[in-house]
Symmetry: none
Subunit: 376 residues, 2 copies
């Protein structure tokens, strides 16, 4: 069983960190306000979808918005939903680390309002992701297209946000070596994965599939990260986070959901470290300066480098710069200059002679990196 933390206990300052991997029982905004600034790495939110289907909606002060009926005033309802949305998003934003990202899932009933408010609050939209359902419910009346998808918004905390986690290389490698697109195909949650009560009825009306959650987590978090879910429900976020070696914090009001989620998460076995290692690309590798190749004796001052088609050549100088045609500079600057470009990756542009063949100097950097790896 995952720990359950009444909000009152949390507020009594039981100590920092005690809320990791627990479900906070209480109102979403109130519970968020009890968490420290910049304390979570990622947020996944599955807020109430709309007012028009009769779901209960609470204002930030926990008062109940009047139930929707045929006479309801549409503007007042949208306004109430906007106030609610702004409140929880703002509270989430404070809790999120500056390098963190947030996911919000919704349908056409609410996602446009959510997205616009996110922009108003200075979240910086990175992608909208379409979850295409393999087995959506049909449209029974034949008056619309079958509503076969939901939309997720992925955003960083700040405009022009930098430094967020995106495991690009792992996603690409797992996707037949082409980059992952913004349209994802998954079945809806059903069968054995769907939590059911003793009466055989589903515990939660909108339980999300673990496969969807797993891709979200694998894409935008690292092992050990803390993932917050302010509308925890049946606890899919917690279950998948635990399985994938991440930490979670859930917020939920309903005791029935908390009970089901707690038991569910308790039964999850985390994967081992080897299975959880995330594939990284060159960006994550240690930097090796060009000078290091000279110091290691792999290249020598005076030696000539050229591009792969031998159209340009340059001479290595003892200070670790290249010289050609009266110009000199780093491998990158000079590579750009001789080609008349703004930028150039000198590691892949410049080649050295080995026998009759040309090899990129990047091969030599790989040798250095291999040696470095043995040391660490």
């Amino acid at each position: 069983m995952a720990a359950v933390l009444p909000l009152a206990d949390l507020k009594r300052q039981v100590g920092p960190g005690n809320w990791i991997n627990s479900i906070i029982k209480g109102d979403c905004v109130a519970a968020l306000e009890a968490l420290p600034d910049h304390s979570v790495d990622a947020i996944f939110a599955d807020p109430p979808y709309n007012l028009q289907l009769g779901g209960a909606l609470h204002r930030p002060d926990q008062s109940l918005v009047d139930a929707v009926d045929d006479d309801w005033d549409q503007f007042a309802s949208f306004e109430a939903y906007d106030i609610f949305t702004r409140a929880w998003l703002l509270a989430c934003r404070r809790v999120l680390k500056p390098t963190g990202t947030i996911w919000v899932i919704g349908s056409y009933h609410n996602i446009f309002r959510v997205g616009a408010i996110m922009q108003d609050l200075n979240f910086w939209l990175l992608n909208d992701i379409v979850w295409r359902k393999t087995n959506p419910m049909p449209n029974f009346k034949g008056r619309r297209f079958q509503n076969a998808h939901e939309t997720m918004i992925w955003a960083s905390r700040d405009a022009k946000g930098k430094g967020y986690t995106f495991n690009y290389d792992a996603l690409k490698a797992s996707n037949d070596d082409v980059q992952m697109r913004s349209d994802w195909l998954f079945p809806i949650c059903s069968g054995g994965e769907r939590l059911k009560g003793e009466d055989g009825k589903k515990v939660h009306p909108t339980q999300k599939p673990e496969a969807l959650m797993a891709r979200v987590i694998m894409a935008s978090t690292r092992p050990g990260d803390v993932i917050l879910d302010p509308f925890f429900g049946s606890g899919t976020t917690g279950a998948v986070a635990k399985r994938l070696g991440r930490n979670f914090v859930g917020i939920e009001r309903e005791q029935d959901y908390i009970d089901a989620a707690s038991a569910r998460i308790g039964a999850v076995e985390p994967l081992g470290k080897a299975e959880l290692t995330v594939m990284t690309g060159k960006k994550a590798e240690p930097r090796v300066a060009f000078n290091t190749l000279i110091e290691a004796g792999l290249l020598k001052p005076g030696q000539v480098l050229s591009d792969v088609k031998r159209r340009h050549s340059a001479i290595i100088r003892a200070d670790g710069t290249l010289a050609a045609n009266g110009d000199a500079g780093s491998i990158h600057r000079l590579g750009a200059k001789v080609q008349g470009l703004d930028a150039c990756n000198g590691w892949t542009f410049w080649h050295f002679q080995e026998g009759e063949a040309l090899r990129p100097i990047d091969d030599l950097r790989a040798i250095i990196r291999t040696d470095l790896a043995k040391l660490s």
Copy 2:
């Protein structure tokens, strides 16, 4: 050549109906105000997306991406964009028949604001439709998911709108007798369909594909209906409307676009009545990524794969890559690596244990494909 109508002439009341099948030259809202109440059956709007681009973007080969940096896409703030959006949507609403519907296309940059404002103005959202692009531009920096879709909102004029046109049966018949879903697959507009000037450059930066427009028109209008496009651009709406036996009204400010659209529409041959029945969308062979097998539970992280002669083995990681001997990568790259080859088809190389036998993981892909064949 389609008729071009300066807004001043229209205001001089040349007579009702004279604006049918013509392009009104002028500002969008001003032109709309010159049209009568409840005079069009459907609206298709492709407003500026309000892209907020930073500096220049280069492809990995250093070529420059031709960005949409036109003046008409520049707005000072979200607030300015909202004011603009509210104005043209309100003007559209007056012109639309009570039984009419409106389509608006956009991307994550603007569609959330547009959708929220549509709801605020009492449009009643019927569906959001995802246009999945077969050939989207990649993400060059590897910092996001490939932005592979755009979103269309389809709405009726009034809340609980009734009596709008939706050709449910025709769509279903054209879709292998299953109801049309909310995710559509089409290529972007290129090749011979893409309008080009004498300099060989594209006339309009965001010309929409005719196939997309055709499905919109076939789904939500009847022959003889009047379709308004307040951001006419290169005139795709007019060209497809004419071909499909519908009438159009376009509004456009730029003379260059008007000239191109007018000539384009003039060259269109309307289809005969018999051909106006059914048209199908293009289907594509579903791509199945290795990750899909894990997400579907057919393979599990930690499980060991080997080649058919058990000379090499590798462990499946949660991120959808394989690991062996300290190396890691996609099923293809690692298969190549362990064999010392340049390339390898991981689908046929790697096998999993089933009882005492080894079966290629390609067998599992076949299972997924069978399930997906219905979707494409």
